[in-house]
Symmetry: D2
Subunit: 316 residues, 4 copies
Amino acid sequence: KNHDQAQRKSCWYEEEIEDNLRWSFALNSILHTGATQYQDIQLLDTKPFGKALVIDGKLQSAEIDEFIYHECLVHPPLLRHPNPKNIFIMGGGEGSTAREILRHNTVAKLIMCDIDEEVVDFCKSYLVVNRQAFCDPRLELVINDARAELLSRVEKYDVIVGDLADPIEGGPCYQLYTKSFYESVVKPRLTTNGVFVTQAGPAGIFSHTEVFSCIYNTLKHVFKYVVPYSAHIPSYADTWGWVMASDSPLSLNAEEFDLRIKQRMTGENRFLDGTTFQSASTLSKAVRKSYVLSLLSFTSHFALPFFFFLGNDYVY
Amino acid sequence: KNHDQAQRKSCWYEEEIEDNLRWSFALNSILHTGATQYQDIQLLDTKPFGKALVIDGKLQSAEIDEFIYHECLVHPPLLRHPNPKNIFIMGGGEGSTAREILRHNTVAKLIMCDIDEEVVDFCKSYLVVNRQAFCDPRLELVINDARAELLSRVEKYDVIVGDLADPIEGGPCYQLYTKSFYESVVKPRLTTNGVFVTQAGPAGIFSHTEVFSCIYNTLKHVFKYVVPYSAHIPSYADTWGWVMASDSPLSLNAEEFDLRIKQRMTGENRFLDGTTFQSASTLSKAVRKSYVLSLLSFTSHFALPFFFFLGNDYVY
Amino acid sequence: KNHDQAQRKSCWYEEEIEDNLRWSFALNSILHTGATQYQDIQLLDTKPFGKALVIDGKLQSAEIDEFIYHECLVHPPLLRHPNPKNIFIMGGGEGSTAREILRHNTVAKLIMCDIDEEVVDFCKSYLVVNRQAFCDPRLELVINDARAELLSRVEKYDVIVGDLADPIEGGPCYQLYTKSFYESVVKPRLTTNGVFVTQAGPAGIFSHTEVFSCIYNTLKHVFKYVVPYSAHIPSYADTWGWVMASDSPLSLNAEEFDLRIKQRMTGENRFLDGTTFQSASTLSKAVRKSYVLSLLSFTSHFALPFFFFLGNDYVY
Amino acid sequence: KNHDQAQRKSCWYEEEIEDNLRWSFALNSILHTGATQYQDIQLLDTKPFGKALVIDGKLQSAEIDEFIYHECLVHPPLLRHPNPKNIFIMGGGEGSTAREILRHNTVAKLIMCDIDEEVVDFCKSYLVVNRQAFCDPRLELVINDARAELLSRVEKYDVIVGDLADPIEGGPCYQLYTKSFYESVVKPRLTTNGVFVTQAGPAGIFSHTEVFSCIYNTLKHVFKYVVPYSAHIPSYADTWGWVMASDSPLSLNAEEFDLRIKQRMTGENRFLDGTTFQSASTLSKAVRKSYVLSLLSFTSHFALPFFFFLGNDYVY
């Protein structure tokens, strides 16, 4: 019968991923809808990408491919660190970042600090895939502003993970991407070999100029070693970016990368291995040329990024 | 906060109401989804029109304005009849047609004959507004093909109501709109003053040529008195049509119409009164001119409607 | 071949006709795009409705059914007037209102006063159907604000036609729908038997509360006789409204209406005749009940309509 | 003024890139529409991606990022070949593939063989960026089926480029992706060091199973050395794939790649350099694991791909 056809097309989730560009998924159902003090939240069951978490009308993660985002955010910094024990997540209320971190058997203590308790509760209730992570005794959940929380703490972390919304001017997270935040809040809380990593927004051949290049440049002013990398995430309709930074060298060849996965992690990665990371951290000519030339960085003093003088040592 | 805006736009129900013309409602939720032996069925919660029943990707009725359709289908024939006691509904599984009929205190017995038991059960469960009707002791629910059921019965009805899908060629209901069906199945089951009424598809200035004119013309060949009428239904994005037919005169002025409403009906109509019906049964010049000239009628022998010779007595 | 199918669906015009409700037409082409000092303007070739004029993202008129709007706006007031010679259009830059007025052989002089010269030029160039009207020697085109123009003139008009955008609060036309404007600007420029008519926005069973009821109520405070009427316009996906007002009685039965059409007009109406107008000026119970109760009217002193005391004479 | 906003959203190009997944671009205009003997063709001016060529409702190439597709299709095989002089394009009527090939100063003769003369003429007329290429004296344009043309020729080519629609079962190009076609038509027309390259459809983490893996596996049965590679193309909303194949080794390190670009090519690449190609030809774990396991290949004897026995030598 022809009924599938008719029904399949009738309900759609639609997002304007950028001005003039729309991305739409056929829907099976709208599982849950809620509004917190900070944001609106929906859990959708979509036909092309499975369950999808939508916050304020923006897709956060889709069941079918969130593993790409979360493996990329978590494993490169944890694998590069010689022995990551204490970890701090800024944001991450969805629970998937914690889930990936807890796969590392070196991890003894994990702080997840999200400002929106209701989102955390929503995800705890509905995202079955992260239930085990939420119950892991190594996880300590803190409801607070990440900046305030980091400032109030004295212990140091081996890895600090930024799993926050993009630094949109005037948005709630802008201050958590600035040079002064990295210098005076993040860096003091990292151990000697500590690694900072942050999601870094779209990193496509055109879209990398939105925030990715700026985040990279900002971190270059604060850390000695900075590694940008990217991967295409189908449900985002774009290539996504992450940047990892440290004052210790971050190099790790493909074989060592694979070896540490085997030694330290439970379960198997679906996206990342040493070879994949090599490819992900090799940006295309178009992006490389563009961000070397782009001298923009985020500061806390100016609402708009501004041009920054960079000395001769600025070489990618 | 701006969240409403964002969320409001993210989920949509979308229907191609005709080729090249799309009609979309923002969604609150998808309440229920099901598939029966005959059709797919969904109950949606839409922002502009409230709960909406969708069958095979076509909107059947919306909470906010289904009263227009059902008041128009039911009350003109029942009010024109001197004393309607026994009523037969072909189709009508949604329950709203029964609900309106049962508001007439003259009605002693109502048969609702729908072929799809699962749709009836679905509506019984989820359409709260019709629950009382489904429980009314005067209602007898029969699961059967309307034609077979009418042929198997010997009693006669004061009003027979056609609440069926449009007569699309090759569609399941085509045979229930033909001249031979009306002559040999419907008419023999009507009492002396009996009235037949049917929904008659879109009746807009352009869309009336799809099936409305044909249904009118077909009924003109079978009954002495035929009254077409129409009203705009917002959720259908079109003017809709009904045709009422009888071998007894159907005239009733606005005052008598209103008087009978007062005398015979419980509750108050939201759409129809005598004046409204006068307007609804006065078609615009564009439609009147078109359907007088259109000589098409539905027959059971030909898949396509064909031209029919009409004598001098063909005067609207 | 299956190519038509594919191509047919690829390009769409889309309008949010109200919050949460979208209306989309498949496109053949985008004929012209322009921006004037006041507004953006597009001429589209749509599959379902032919050429469509879109101003600021809102459909103004579509080739296939603009005749309904313009016949309804123009002919009832001109036919009701005993001998309409001098006519004034506020707005109307599209030219269709002028075209319909110029079909009346009683008309000797027609002022069309639109504020946006570039829109007028755009329509003159591209709307072939109105070319003849733009060249008619009886037409005088004035580029000015309608209020300023009427205030600067001393002669009186038999019919003044309001063909302006809806009175949206804060919008450019709001002041042209207020009680004080009607009293001190329009009325002084009408001859003794003069008739004022205005388009009055959506008049559907739900949408009539947006501006239609208010315009009707406002005019009731200024003129002795006020006649609201409405008709479904397919391309607007709604029933539309007009209100006609005068200090002389406006009644005209269907036969006289038809007779005057024959005597005074060239060409044939496609939508309106006496019978159609009777139906159009008989509002449904739902709308009648609603606007009698609604006591809102537009004033120039308050941004928001407010409740107004209405004496015993307020009878529809 | 707020007009931009309104207008920007009104016209959209919409494509269902796969079942249940829609991709929409705001439109400036529809520049040209045509229908050839074989296909429908449109040239659109889109807001996010510039001019876009659409064939049978499928985006072919967009002004803003077609360079990614065409640089990837052309330069890896031509740069790997020691001295590419004679080149043959199967398809490529758009002209962009020819344009990139003609940037290589080693090229003496280029055959572009497309079946659809009208598409070629359309692109010649409207795609300004390729005008020079169409006029290059080294280019010989042939209107013919690529298979028939290759069979009829006796000379051999250094590089044969497949720039054809995906091998959809029952589609016009399926036969041009089969093992027998590669063996008996393509290979005999390659010089000793000859390289064959073909576009290979979507190569995303999920979409690579549609045709990319099959094309790779098919070529593995015919050539000694096969190199699959991929890159994200924003306007396609996916990662795209190409496969290069030869009986001579295809390795070339990043420095040599860059050197040959400098020595042999005019103009500068926007996307590709040695480093970028290294990354592009390193597939992610997810895709690598999947296609090694996938044993599907295209054959001419079976409409559906079938499982093929592969010996021990099958190692990527």
